[in-house]
């Protein structure tokens, strides 16, 4: 038991798992926090990033050095298109704005179907994969493939960079103000439409960037995104909806629970463990581990 707790390999695996959860969930949390949009197509933006990375590698023999910046640009363009074509329409008028969350669920469900089927038509449903930076790198008592280490480093960096942007930049502070209280932010003169647009583009860019990273490790297909959407929602609800710092923390907590938990109870209890803990937290603390409870009037 002691050797399990102090296993460096296990610790590294837990952090690696948490890092990718953190990156995927941060994008989703940013979109929900500012716009209150339930983007269940979030995993499909991960899928778009994955295909981008695959084709950049296959056609031009370039790895993430090229596909990561391209994925950010793609995310920005998709965010722009989604904001202009859908979100601004969903937010027209008070009545529509009040129903935004429920309307967004259906709207993004439609977007998810379109993205998956679009990818299937363009690239077929055949599973794709490529081999990049998969040498095993030894770090003392630990070892991991290069692409998993790269994913860990870049995911952690991007998640923390997002947190730093929100804490230390003026625009980030304005974004946090909108997350905290939208009406008050509008009253004090914060440009809400600009915050919404930037947050949407930022969130989608993080999703596409996640896709580039996971494409190095996992099979790529039009339906690969569903699992990431589920994981992202579990993480942001565990951390507290709209609480980006809470979400990042919850992601690493989940990675630790999943990895160490399986070491103690056995890999066959993975689903029971992860979703069991999730349900328990929702029962005991519905606002999430780091969310603030709201008084009911």
């Amino acid at each position: 038991m002691i050797d399990v707790v102090f296993s460096a390999q296990l610790a590294l695996a837990a952090i690696a798992a948490g890092a990718i959860y953190a990156l995927v969930a941060t994008g989703l949390n940013l979109v929900y926090g500012t716009l209150r949009l339930l983007n269940i197509a979030h995993g499909d933006f991960v899928m778009i990033g994955a295909y981008l990375a695959f084709w950049v590698f296959t056609l031009f023999d370039f790895g993430p050095a090229l596909s990561l910046p391209l994925s950010v640009i793609t995310g920005i363009l998709l965010g722009l298109a989604t904001y202009k074509g859908l979100v601004s329409v969903l937010m027209q008028g008070t009545a529509r704005e009040e129903r935004l969350e429920s309307n967004s669920l259906l709207a993004f469900f439609g977007i998810s179907i379109v993205l998956q089927n679009g990818a299937a038509l363009l690239f077929t449903n055949n599973i794709r994969a490529y081999r990049y930076f998969d040498q095993v790198i030894a770090l003392g008592p630990m070892s991991m493939t290069g692409n998993r280490l790269l994913t860990l480093v870049i995911s952690t960096f991007l998640a923390l960079a997002t947190a730093a942007y929100l804490r230390f930049t003026l625009f980030g502070l304005a974004t946090r103000a909108v997350i905290q209280n939208r009406d008050a932010s509008w009253i004090v003169g914060i440009d809400l439409p600009r915050i919404y647009l930037v947050s949407l583009c930022f969130g989608f860019s993080l999703a596409c960037a996640s896709g580039v990273l996971v494409s190095m490790m996992e099979p790529i297909s039009p339906i690969m995104g569903f699992g990431y959407s589920i994981s992202a929602f579990v993480v942001i609800m565990l951390g507290g909806l709209g609480n980006l710092f809470g979400g990042i923390t919850a992601a690493f907590v989940l990675g630790i629970i999943e990895t160490y938990g399986l070491a103690f109870v056995g890999s066959n209890y993975r689903s029971l463990l992860v979703y069991g803990i999730f349900v328990l937290v929702m029962i005991l603390r519905p606002e999430g581990l780091f969310g603030k409870s709201q008084a009911t009037r």
């Binding site: 390999q9 089927n117 299937a120 994969a129 095993v136 493939t145 996992e218 339906i223 993975r270």
Partner: protein, 392 residues
């Protein structure tokens, strides 16, 4: 128009329709496939094989039908959304509304099981391919014919493979998936009977991403044969993390996954030596092998899945031979399938009284130099089994 004229006109019309159906130069072949749903990324390997076969047959002048000459194949295809009940609806429509002449199988066990009551009710023979459960055989199906080995047969045969290799310590891991469960249910008792010691035996959720705890346990048990009963997506982290942990075994088996072209794309030379279930290799000298491989590569710009594409094509070969002898009449076709021996890419196919193919023992393949070779049964092998090379 009076009554006599009406009846005369109706009779003539019916005769014309009957004559035109009989004189039609098209034979309609129907199937459903999961173009959407959770299996959407797995099904193209099957439908692409069907499409290839249809195009090749039409290029040769059409499907030869006993008593009717050659007719051009026309497919009627529905999306079953990877759901058994939708597959059942699709096949009812194919049989009763579209009135197709012949049926091809859907993809995967749930869809085969969904279709089973439909084909039994309407008495239409169906040559099954990607079915990984014994449930249909145990239901004493008269009209479904099981071409690839069922999991209990494969599970029992793997013990023979392991024994022949002289392995003494076997670690078993299993994804929680129906095919895998049935495979292990047969494999472990067969292993225990055959002699090797099962030193590790654990299962895991099929969607697991990190296998460090599982593989650490396997490594600690010091096996010489790893029987990883994987189900597609988990085959990737299994191999990745086995490498990270420096797991060394003489033989490394992954049930499903290594037959997919993307597996070699992902792992390169580190995939060499991985064993899997299968019965065909591009190096096989069996009937139609070269035509299938070259045709698939040219048509789809990618190599076929060595298991699922090949079995789909094999069932088309069987159908083609059966129809040549028996025509499209369902009962005559069923009788032909029940009694004849078919010469296919997997060798001889002959169905027993339970409609299970007993033409050859269940087979295994192994990746060697990036290509899956048939290594079992020895009499059908395209290469000898090798030990797992050291990680690159």
């Amino acid at each position: 128009m009076n009554r006599r004229e009406f009846v005369a006109g109706l009779t003539v019309s019916t005769a014309l329709v009957s004559t035109s159906r009989g004189q039609s130069n098209v034979v309609r072949v129907g199937y459903s496939i999961g173009q959407t749903g959770p299996l959407a990324s797995s099904t193209p390997v099957g439908s692409q094989a069907y499409t290839l076969w249809g195009e090749q047959v039409n290029a040769r002048g059409g499907l030869e039908i006993a008593g009717e000459g050659r007719k051009r194949i026309e497919f009627v295809v529905y999306d079953d959304q990877s759901q058994g009940n939708k597959a059942a609806q699709a096949y009812e429509r194919l049989i009763n509304t579209d009135r197709v002449d012949l049926l091809l199988a859907p993809y995967a066990s749930p869809m085969h099981l969904g279709v089973l009551p439909v084909i039994e009710r309407f008495k239409r023979p169906l040559i099954a391919n990607t079915i990984g459960t014994t449930a249909a055989r145990d239901a004493h199906s008269k009209y479904m014919f099981f071409t690839q080995a069922l999991p209990d047969m494969w599970g029992a045969e793997v013990a023979n493979l392991i024994k022949s290799l002289g392995s003494k310590r076997v670690a078993v891991s299993m994804a929680q998936s129906p095919f895998c469960i049935e495979f292990r249910k047969a494999a472990v008792p067969a292993l225990q009977k055959a002699g090797p010691e099962v030193v590790f035996n654990q299962e895991y959720a099929a969607d697991i991403k990190d296998m460090t705890p599982l593989l650490s346990g396997i490594k600690a048990s010091n096996p010489d044969f790893l029987l990883a009963i994987t189900f597609l997506n988990d085959s990737v982290p299994m191999l990745t993390q086995a490498r990270e942990l420096g797991l060394k075994v003489d033989y490394f088996f992954e049930l499903l996954g290594p037959a997919q072209p993307s597996f070699v794309s992902r792992f390169g030379e580190n995939a060499n030596g991985i064993l899997a279930v299968g019965f065909w290799s591009r190096h096989s000298k069996t009937t139609g092998s070269a035509e299938f491989f070259d045709g698939y590569l040219k048509r789809w710009n990618m190599p076929p899945d060595d298991k699922d594409s090949s079995i789909a094509y094999i069932t088309c070969q069987i159908l083609e031979q059966a129809v040549k002898k028996a025509g499209v009449d369902p009962e005559k076709l069923r009788a032909e399938l029940s009694s004849a021996t078919f010469d296919t890419m997997m060798g001889n196919v002959k169905y027993n009284e339970q409609n299970v193919n007993m033409g050859a023992p269940p087979g295994f393949i192994q990746l060697q130099n990036g290509i899956n070779e048939v290594v079992w049964p020895p009499e059908q092998a395209s290469a000898k089994i090798i030990k797992k090379p050291a990680w690159a």
